[in-house]
């Protein structure tokens, strides 16, 4: 069988790249590890190594071809004993091969890692372009005729599927179509949403066959266990978090924040407020600082919605509260226009009702941004899962004394690390960084929160 050489992905987010140069010609014999081509993205140039031995039977994508989709077949390798007659079938077959992973060509893993970190560096322009197959027909039109896959081209979907995806905030490019020629149909959207609409019982029954690659949930035979039925809350968490992690492209930005000034300010404020019975917590400061930072960088207060994005003008902060059997995220609405005392009172009341299981839907439905704080558990830092359809979540670690370098000398400071998880569909690194810079500014110089 001739072996397909596929366009490799230089980074997890790469969708297309330029085939800069072939270093071999048709008829050349290659062995595993030989450098056969160079490919580039806007960030890097990488060498493609041959994984298998053989003779280059046919080069399908010419030197200098731009926007070659990842996993497109770029060449066919003939194994020993195969001649050109095996090519026709392979070339014809390659048009259906987009699902195959780019296993057959590979690039050194070090480069992947490098590129990944590059991905998460905020860029000066703050304007990384993320190809969106749905919204760039013109750009796609100028792309050379890719020899194989339709990847990166127009997404074919039924009108009903488009509307349902839009209503669910689902990116059509992330859905696999099961209709004719891969067209996305209603059933695919339902699968992607992990649920079936009420009337679709017939189809739901038909779809009970296990999905390919679905995990086997049978417990190991020799390990004793308790079987716990999932609560409604648990099921919702499972569904939403799965949906988020599998459909929302997350990236993470971490920053360290000095808390000394804020703690002093807090002590002072709490002394003054003692008579009123108000005690402002570190978390209250964080809520206010988040809200103000979002006001300053409204692009970070955003929601992805298929072919558009919403930038919210009000800061409704969902705050994760651990409760028996799970967690809930009550919302401090319009936190950007509320003072610390008001936020503190409201949060205390919401958290109390959350613990008692007395929240009503208005308390937790909506929200434009989330905070999850595990500082009280001594967690130094962590990455949180975005709470869809929101565009970002801030994970807050513990405040702890650390040795830091201040004015070229080691000093002890009360430090806290926060990690912002961002939906890359709606925000890029630079915006996340801007937000964190603003957040850090408010926490480290809390007097500015009064402005």
């Amino acid at each position: 069988m001739p072996i397909e050489i596929l366009m490799p992905a230089l980074s997890p987010t790469m969708e297309t790249g330029t085939l800069a140069k072939w270093l071999v010609s048709e008829g050349d014999t290659v062995s595993s590890g030989d450098i056969i081509a160079e490919i580039e993205t806007d960030k890097a140039t990488m060498e493609v190594e041959a994984i298998d031995e053989g003779r280059i039977g046919k080069i399908l994508v010419a030197d200098g071809t731009e926007e070659v989709p990842v996993n497109a077949v770029i060449a066919i390798l003939l194994e020993e004993g195969e001649d050109e007659s095996a090519l026709d079938a392979a070339v014809a077959k390659s048009s259906g091969s987009k699902d195959k992973a780019a296993k057959k060509t590979d690039i050194p893993s070090r480069d992947v890692a490098d590129d990944k970190s590059d991905e998460e560096q905020p860029k000066a322009t703050g304007n990384e372009s993320k190809p969106d197959s749905d919204s760039e027909p013109e750009e796609k039109a100028k792309a050379p005729a890719a020899p194989t896959t339709e990847e990166g081209e127009r997404v074919f979907a039924s009108p009903l599927a488009r509307r349902m995806a839009q209503q669910a905030g689902l990116d059509l490019a992330s859905v696999t179509g099961s209709g004719p020629k891969g067209r996305i149909v209603k059933a695919d959207i339902e699968d992607a949403m992990g649920k079936a609409v009420p009337a679709a019982k017939d189809q739901a029954a038909a779809a009970t066959a296990p999905a390919i690659g679905a995990p086997d949930f049978t417990p190991p035979a020799d390990v004793p266990y308790d079987e716990v039925k999932l609560s409604g809350m648990r099921k919702v968490i499972a569904k939403r978090m799965t949906q988020s992690k599998s459909h929302v492209p997350h990236f993470y930005l971490t920053v360290d924040v000095a808390l000394d000034k804020m703690m002093a300010q807090r002590k002072d404020l709490n002394a003054r407020l003692e008579e009123d019975g108000v005690r402002i917590s570190v978390n209250d400061f964080i809520i206010r600082a988040c809200a103000l930072a979002l006001k300053k960088v409204p692009q970070a207060n955003a929601m992805f919605a298929g072919d558009k994005a919403y930038m919210f003008k009000r800061q409704d902060i969902s705050v994760a509260v651990a409760v028996e059997g799970g967690l809930v995220t009550p919302i401090v609405r319009d936190a950007g226009s509320k003072g610390l005392a008001e936020i503190s009172r409201e949060m205390k009341e919401l958290a109390g009702r959350a613990q008692e299981g007395k929240l009503v839907p208005e308390d937790y439905q909506g929200g434009t941004f989330s905070i999850s704080n595990l500082g009280m558990y001594g967690i130094r830092e962590f990455g949180a899962v975005i709470n869809p359809p929101q565009g970002a979540i801030l994970a807050v670690g513990a405040g702890e004394k650390r040795a830091v370098v201040v004015d070229d000398a080691v000093a002890v400071r009360l430090m806290m690390s926060v990690t912002l998880a961002v939906d890359h569909r709606v925000m890029d690194g630079a915006i996340g960084a801007d937000f964190l810079k603003a957040f850090k500014g408010f926490i480290e110089d809390p007097i500015t929160m009064l402005l």
Binding site: P159, L160, A199, A206
Partner: protein, 466 residues
């Protein structure tokens, strides 16, 4: 010695079987089809097609009877029943020959005889006292169905008819009792009424055309009554006394009271039952429930390598459903990737009575039952120029949408030519259009199809002509 080993053997050459066999041949499978009676099955020989031929006659007679409405005069309108029936038979014969040619052209081996499953892919065929043993990797049962009878209601072919006898009358009955008001019952009721018979319909349910939308049922009932039919709902025929040239039926009404009435002839149209007998199904491990073979969504029966499609595999009993199931089963057998099982909400249903009835998808009641919040549009024939020009101002087109997604959940039509119109909605539904695409579609003027547009517009409060 003829070939005895096949990739696929299809038992039954109706619209399910012969289509399946041809599709198999197209896919390169070596296919044989076994038929005990006539190619084309009931549909072509004793169902869909010959009844349409009869209904064309009664329709033309209806026009002639009303010629003066169109400024014409027609006198001494009469018919020769023998010729009417022979036209219908001739058409069936013509198509029967057509199917034979199609099978031959596609190199499907046609074997006339009675088939029995022998297990492990074996099929024996009996014909003219001889038995031939055949072997196949896969077998598709497409044996169809026949009219259902009840212990106290059995057809004798003389006074009590099934569809088959009703299609070849020797005399025109003066009075006719039709038991059952599904498509078959109503088509015969319509034919005989337009040909001049006094027609009474007895239906067990609380409405005629029980599978259709309730509004359609109600409208149809009014239309038929206006034509002079008598319709008795919530009623059943308890007893039949066969006289020399008439039958006296005891009809039990809703209140439990019985009434006896005498008719020249009686038609049984109380559903059908699958042809599951003498096929060796039980021995082969094929599961049968309530007269029909049980299958999964691809047509697989409980026995490996044995499939069932069409009427023998259960409702809805429609030729186009059988054909489609046949194609799906064969493609599954051939290992084609990316197949989808048939969706029942995409099977259109048509009744060729006067007025015609056609529908696809959910009825209003079913949509509500399924939990949808719906938007309903309705447009009457009286608002359509073409309908008025045709002299057919009675009827309507109803559409049902999911309020949330705009999905077309169902469409229901009654009136002239709606059986030819419904396909527009079926295509729309298959392609998963929403109301938006239908609203943006340009419908030709002047046509009846404009009502389909207006009905969609009406669902969103935007109808122009009503």
């Amino acid at each position: 010695m003829a070939e005895t080993k096949y990739d696929l053997i299809v038992i039954g050459a109706g619209p399910g079987g012969y289509v399946a066999a041809i599709r198999a041949a197209q896919l390169g499978l070596k296919a044989a089809i076994i038929e005990r009676e006539h190619l084309g099955g009931i549909c072509l020989n004793w169902g869909c097609i010959p009844t349409k031929a009869l209904l064309r006659t009664s329709e033309i007679k209806h026009y002639l009877d009303n010629a003066s409405d169109f400024g014409l005069s027609a006198k001494d309108i009469d018919f020769d029943l023998k010729k009417v029936v022979s036209r219908s038979r001739k058409i069936a014969g013509q198509l029967n020959t057509g199917v034979k040619g199609l099978l031959k052209k596609n190199k499907v081996v046609t074997i006339m005889g009675e088939a029995t499953l022998k297990g492990k892919g074996g099929v024996s065929v009996k014909a003219d006292g001889k038995t031939t043993e055949l072997q196949a990797k896969n077998i598709i049962l497409a044996t169809g169905a026949r009219a259902r009878e009840l212990p106290h209601l059995k057809a004798d072919g003389k006074l009590i008819w099934t569809y088959k006898h009703a299609m070849t009358p020797e005399v025109m009955p003066k009075s006719l009792l039709v038991v059952g008001s599904g498509a078959i019952g109503l088509e015969f009721a319509s034919f005989y009424r337009d040909m001049g018979a006094e027609v009474t319909i007895v239906e067990m349910m609380d409405r005629i055309l029980p599978v259709e939308d309730e509004e359609v049922s109600a409208f149809a009932k009014k239309q038929f009554e206006k034509q002079g039919m008598k319709i008795v709902l919530n009623a059943s025929v308890e007893k039949v006394d066969i006289k020399k040239n008439s039958v006296t039926a005891t009809i039990k009404g809703k209140d439990g009271k019985t009434e006896t009435q005498t008719f020249d002839r009686m038609i049984l149209a109380i559903g059908i039952t699958g042809n599951v007998e003498n096929l060796g199904l039980e021995e082969a491990g094929v599961k049968v429930e309530r007269g029909h073979v049980v299958t999964d969504e691809w047509g697989r029966t409980a026995a490996t390598g044995i499939w069932a499609i069409g009427d023998v595999a259960g409702a809805p009993w429609l030729a186009h459903k059988a054909s489609h199931e046949g194609v799906i089963a064969v493609e599954k057998i051939a290992g084609i990737k990316g197949l989808h099982p048939m969706r029942k909400d995409l099977i259109p249903g048509c009744t060729y009575s006067r007025p015609q009835v056609a529908s696809v998808g959910l009825t209003e009641a079913k949509a509500k039952e399924a939990g949808y919040k719906i938007k309903v549009g309705k447009f009457p024939f009286i608002g359509n120029g073409k309908a008025i020009a045709l002299g057919e101002p009675e009827g309507f087109v109803k559409t049902i949408f999911d309020e949330k997604t705009g999905e077309l959940l169902g469409a229901h039509m009654i009136g002239a030519e709606v059986t030819e119109l419904i396909q527009g909605y079926v295509v729309a539904k298959s392609l998963e259009t929403t109301e938006a695409e239908l609203m943006h579609t340009i419908f030709p003027h002047p046509t009846l199809s404009e009502m389909m547009h207006e009905s969609v517009l009406d669902a969103y409060g935007r109808a122009i002509h009503y």
